[in-house]
Symmetry: C2
Subunit: 418 residues, 2 copies
Amino acid sequence: MNIKTYIHDIGVKALAASRKMAVLATRQKVAIVKAMADGLEARREEIIAANKADLEAAAAAGMSGPMLDRLTLTDARFRAMTEGLRTVAALPDPVGKVIKRTTRPNGMRIEKRRVPLGVVAIIFESRPNVTADAASLCIKTGNAVILRGGKEAVRSNKAIADALQAGGAEKGMPQDAVQFIEVTDHKAVNELVGLAGYVDVVIPRGGERLVRAVVEHARIPVLKHYKGVCHVYVDKKARQAQALKILDNAKCQRPSTCNAAETLLVDRAIAKTFLPKVGAWAAKKGVALRGDETVREYVPAALPATEEDWYAEYLSLTLAVRVVDGVGEAIDHINTFGSHHSDAIVTEDAAAAERFLDEVDSAAVYHNVSTRFTDGGEFGMGAEMGVSTDKFHARGPMGLEELTSYKWVVRGEGQLRG
Amino acid sequence: MNIKTYIHDIGVKALAASRKMAVLATRQKVAIVKAMADGLEARREEIIAANKADLEAAAAAGMSGPMLDRLTLTDARFRAMTEGLRTVAALPDPVGKVIKRTTRPNGMRIEKRRVPLGVVAIIFESRPNVTADAASLCIKTGNAVILRGGKEAVRSNKAIADALQAGGAEKGMPQDAVQFIEVTDHKAVNELVGLAGYVDVVIPRGGERLVRAVVEHARIPVLKHYKGVCHVYVDKKARQAQALKILDNAKCQRPSTCNAAETLLVDRAIAKTFLPKVGAWAAKKGVALRGDETVREYVPAALPATEEDWYAEYLSLTLAVRVVDGVGEAIDHINTFGSHHSDAIVTEDAAAAERFLDEVDSAAVYHNVSTRFTDGGEFGMGAEMGVSTDKFHARGPMGLEELTSYKWVVRGEGQLRG
């Protein structure tokens, strides 16, 4: 098979399908997404069998425990997948909504109206449920979607995609509105992200290496975050008991997520009183600390931190700790070493809080709240496609609205430009 | 000079300046932009002298009439430049505006707030006034800007940029908020558009070749349009006199612009009555027609059109003409051959008009209005940075709001994720 031709053909078909998707009424899209859920249930056995085959191949190839776990479609995960589709079906449709309406002095009426993006490509790793989540969000917003999963999950993903297509087709979904790339060769990704004129955006979801490879080859817009190096800054005016609770939640509630805290910044004015509490908490919760000299003075168990630690996304129970001279130095540290994802200040000082919220250049900034809330569901979007740390198009959690664009619709009676 | 180091250094300085710009109050930004206008007036003689030097070098290098004209800073153009700055100073500031505000069930307050993009790079050709226009829009929205003009205008652009910096500095503009790239080597552009982490967006303004080169090398988001292949479709239910006026305005009012019409589509049902009128109009206005067989039947003066004509952006008094079977075929033609810029239908049939407005996949779609209105000023934005035909971030005319992003600001009392 010629990969270039194969991928180009997928792009052509997706573009044609996107034109049909764009003009579907909301009730049609709702019916299609519900039918996709029915489609999954109808093919449950095939999907579970495909997943078993993936798991066997992965085990044979020596895949490790947590990776193997992420690949597994349990009963609960299968149910969550179909429930997720029905939730998305019920969310409000942003397409067609008029964002702005004006009448110009010459009488022409201008309407800025939400439309689908067109063709959305998603490149993801491991977890097969992303196939269903991503497809449902794209279809609900009138887009066509091209799915490319990791090769370890190719049988599961293909079975799910087939079921979604079959289900959607029952309610009139265009054949090529959901396409799955079966070729596991890495060249397919490079071709896909070069499809300018066919694909409107690519969303890579996975490790930093995957995302960097996509950005390197892309000739189309990319919605992404490389990593989440999130901070909790504890100010001298913090309620220290509250600060410890927020730190614990941000670090320990789910350490492997992009909105988990990786670095704790402590105001020098409270180093003496707060750092010993951090040491005790870390010992109790099994958190490994890496600190600067002042930190190690108060927490002897902490290993010495190097500059690399300030950039590190541990995704585990390791925490970098640094002492800073107040909110100004905390902001500088975060803007210099952070990843512009999610950062929190804990303080009772309103002025310090507002300065932090204003000056930290991140997608989400928090005052006396855990960083773990950066999430489409927690923000009330109903579902999410991922999180963007770019300042372009979408920033922070991406839900349905972030999968749309707009067009300018102008009506008049023969207006001419003078 | 090492170009890579030179450009990298500009990026580092722009990023630092952008952090200072982002927190300026509206009144400070207004004062700065007004002072930039004063700065231009204070250095009027130096700027005009630099422009004379550019013109002499260009003439010596054999530059032709219209190109030389675009390069010339006349008195009127100088005045327009300073007036433009004062207009931008007076426009409403989008930064700080709260787009959305919600309180979640756990009590945390979420605010989606407009912020500057950060660092904006602009790559443009010829007309030196773009230096002032682009800088003022970026500064008014709290961004830092990096300017790269064409080499034929380098002395004029440099003199203008110096004057803007000196003027702005009087009111506290950070030194590096406006930077001009003096190196004319093309490698500088490739380095500039690779500055991921320093530059947030690049806006190429110029011919298709320039834009394609930028997209090819960019590792950061690009806001752009390649070309404007705009259509006027005259439906069988059109008022033909009105259709001719709209066609005349779209084609002849300023043929060199991206929103001028390049292709006329005529409903087969009125070919016999309408095409002879088009022929008479073209003869009178000096418009060269390229038509399909049916067109040439009714307009013998038309040359035969090839498929290339359907893709062509003539930017001159040439017009491609095609007969189509109703609104459906018109939509297909536009979506296939057009550039997704600006397209108009002329009809009294409301259903046909709505179908056209819904299904034509362009930044601006018009019913009984000339395509020439796709412009920030005409849309009421007050000024424009360019026009985007992408569906990402900004579509259509780009004004101040399109130079902003947003951040999520979350306030609470110790909320933790469960």
